[in-house]
C-alpha cells in the first residue's frame, strides 16, 4: 500500500518546492520541514520575521444561538469571557480530563466562532464537536478546507504584514477582518513562537499571492523544524508529545486555561486533580553540558528513572540542549538536578522555569 498517495498538500505546496523546501510527511500532509536550514529560519524569526504555512491545521466553525453554550461545554476555558473579535486558548478534554487537543478559538461574531485544531486532530476533533452538538441549537461545520493559514512571526512581523494590509493589524489575542496583499483575511494576533506576529486565515486560492507578497517584503520562509525549536524554547506544548489523553491539563501546566466552574466535559476530573495536586508535572529543562535530548530519552534523578523526555532538541537561540518531560511533582522545582539518558550517555540537566528563552535574558 502506498502511503504517499494518501498524503495531502496545502495550497502552498508548489511555493514550498520553489523556495527549496525539504518536504516531509506530517499529520497526513506533505509539509516543508526546512528551506535553507532550521537554525537560520529559527534565528530569522527571533531577529526579524519568518512566515510559516500552517494550512494543515484544522478549522471548526460553530454557529447559532447556542454556539457559546456548546463551546462552553466542550472547551476548558470560560468561553463566556470571549468577546467578538477576541481569541482564547483552551483544552478539549474527555470526561476523565484527558486532553484531546489544545486549541485556539476566535469569536467572529455574536453567534459565530472559529476553532483552530492541531493538524493531527482535525477529524477526531470535528467528530467530537459534532457528537456533542446534538443537545444544542448550534451548527458545527468542518471548515478545514475553507482556509489556508499563514503564521507571520517575529519582531518585524507586524511591520512587514502591516505594510501589506489595508487596516490596522489586531493586537495580541484579538482578531480583525482586513485585506492583505489584496486578499481578504481573518488576521489574528496569535502564534506559536514566543514572538509577536499575526496568523492569517485566507481563502485557499488567495494563499499564494499573500505568501509571495510576504516573501517579497522580506519575510523568511520557515518550516516545521524551526516551528518546533521556536515553540519549545518558550515551552509551548506540542500535542501528541507534551499533551495527550493520558494526562489532564493540570499535569501539563495548563490549569490556567481550565475554568472548572463552567462545567466543561472533564471539569470534574480536572477539579479533582487540581485539588489533590498532580502526581506528575511537565517541566522544562536544559542540559548543563553537551548533548541534545530527544523525545523518549529516559529522565533520571539520583540514578533512578523518573520520567521520559516528551520534547527535546537543540536550542538555536540558547545553543544548548533543551527539552520537556513529566516528572513527579516533588522534582518539578526549578533548579532540580536531573540526568537525561541520551542513547546510553547520561547527560546532566537542570529543571528550569518557563519560558526557557526570553528576549530580555538572551
Amino acid at each position: 500500500m502506498s502511503t504517499a498517495a494518501a498524503l495531502r498538500r496545502t495550497p502552498l505546496y508548489d511555493a514550498h518546492v520553489a523556495a527549496g523546501a525539504r518536504i516531509v510527511p506530517f499529520a497526513g500532509f506533505e509539509m516543508p520541514v526546512q528551506y535553507e536550514g532550521v537554525r537560520r529560519e529559527h534565528l530569522a524569526v527571533r531577529d526579524s520575521c519568518g512566515v510559516f504555512d500552517v494550512s494543515h491545521m484544522g478549522e471548526i466553525a460553530t454557529t447559532g444561538p447556542d454556539a457559546e453554550a456548546l463551546l462552553q461545554r466542550l472547551l476548558s476555558n470560560d468561553v463566556s469571557k470571549l468577546e467578538p473579535g477576541g481569541a482564547q486558548y483552551s483544552c478539549l478534554c474527555r470526561e476523565d480530563g484527558g486532553v484531546l487537543d489544545d486549541l485556539f478559538t476566535y469569536r467572529l461574531g455574536e453567534q459565530r466562532y472559529l476553532t483552530v485544531t492541531n493538524a493531527a486532530n482535525r477529524d477526531s476533533d470535528f467528530e467530537w464537536f459534532a457528537e456533542h452538538a446534538g443537545d444544542f441549537d448550534a451548527e458545527v461545520r468542518d471548515a478545514g478546507d475553507e482556509y489556508a493559514m499563514l503564521a507571520v512571526q517575529g519582531p518585524r512581523a507586524r511591520e512587514l504584514a502591516g505594510g501589506l494590509a489595508d487596516a490596522q493589524l489586531p493586537p495580541r489575542m484579538r482578531t480583525a477582518t482586513l485585506r492583505i496583499a489584496g486578499a481578504e483575511a481573518l488576521a489574528c494576533g496569535t502564534g506559536y513562537t514566543g514572538e509577536d506576529g499575526v496568523e492569517l486565515l485566507l481563502a485557499p486560492e488567495a494563499a499564494r499571492g499573500v505568501w509571495d507578497a510576504l516573501l517579497a517584503a522580506g519575510a523568511v520562509p520557515a518550516g516545521l523544524g524551526a516551528r518546533d525549536t521556536l515553540r519549545l524554547e518558550v515551552c509551548l506544548h506540542l500535542y501528541g508529545n507534551d499533551l495527550g489523553v493520558e494526562r489532564t491539563p493540570i499535569e501539563g501546566g495548563l490549569g490556567w486555561c481550565c475554568k472548572e466552574d463552567t462545567g466543561f466535559i472533564g471539569s470534574d476530573a480536572v477539579a479533582t486533580v487540581r485539588e489533590r495536586g498532580p502526581a506528575e508535572r511537565l517541566v522544562p529543562f536544559v542540559l548543563t553540558g553537551r548533548g541534545i535530548p530527544r523525545p523518549g530519552n529516559r529522565m533520571l534523578h539520583r540514578a533512578e528513572p523518573v520520567g521520559e523526555v516528551t520534547s527535546g532538541t537543540h536550542s538555536p537561540s540558547l545553543e544548548v540542549g533543551i527539552g520537556m518531560g513529566y516528572v513527579s511533582a516533588e522534582l518539578a522545582e526549578p533548579g532540580t538536578e536531573l540526568e537525561i539518558d541520551v542513547r546510553g550517555t547520561r547527560r546532566p540537566a537542570r529543571v528550569e522555569r518557563k519560558p526557557l528563552y526570553t528576549r530580555e535574558r538572551h
Binding site: R22, V33, Q34, G37, V38, R39, R40, H42, G225, D228, T229, R290, G291, I292, R294, T313, H314, P316, G321, R343, T345
Partner: protein, 131 residues
C-alpha cells in the same frame, strides 16, 4: 554550505562515509550527500581515542536540530586522533566535509579492507541509483 563534490582521491562506504587512506592509517568523515541529507550539523560528540572501530559498524553520531545520524566506520582499526575543532564547531562538517570537517584518524588493523570500498565514480553511481 559546500557545493556537492566527491573527491577522486577518497574511498567511499555505501553508508555515506569517506576514508582517506595513507599507508596503514586513514582519516574518516561523512560525504557531502550525508551532511546535505542531515542538514546543519549542530552536535558531534567525538569518540575517545584508543577505541576500536569495525568496518560497516557505527562508531559515532552526528546530529542536526531535527535528527541523529549514525556514522559508520568505512574500515577497521584504532582511533588515534579525533577532530576536536569539529566537536567545537560542528558546522565545519557542512562547510568543508572532506577537509576541515574530518571526524577521526584511525590506525588500520587490516589495510586490505580498503579493496572493498567504492571509488568516487562508483559512489556517485550508487547515489544516482538511490534517487
Amino acid at each position: 554550505m559546500a557545493d556537492e563534490s566527491y573527491p577522486d582521491e577518497l574511498l567511499y562506504h555505501p553508508e555515506h562515509d569517506w576514508a582517506r587512506v595513507e599507508g596503514d592509517s586513514a582519516t574518516f568523515g561523512i560525504t557531502w550527500y550525508a551532511q546535505d541529507a542531515l542538514g546543519e550539523v549542530v552536535f558531534f560528540d567525538p569518540p575517545e581515542t584508543g577505541i576500536e572501530v569495525t568496518k560497516d559498524t557505527p562508531y559515532t553520531e552526528v546530529e542536526s536540530v531535527k535528527a541523529v545520524s549514525e556514522v559508520y566506520a568505512p574500515l577497521s582499526g584504532e582511533v588515534t586522533e579525533v577532530n576536536a575543532a569539529v566537536a567545537e564547531s560542528p558546522e565545519k562538517i557542512n562547510d568543508d566535509p572532506y577537509a576541515e570537517g574530518w571526524l577521526v584518524k584511525v590506525k588500520l588493523s587490516d589495510p586490505s579492507e580498503a579493496d572493498g570500498l567504492l571509488d568516487a565514480a562508483a559512489y556517485r553511481k550508487l547515489l544516482e541509483e538511490n534517487e
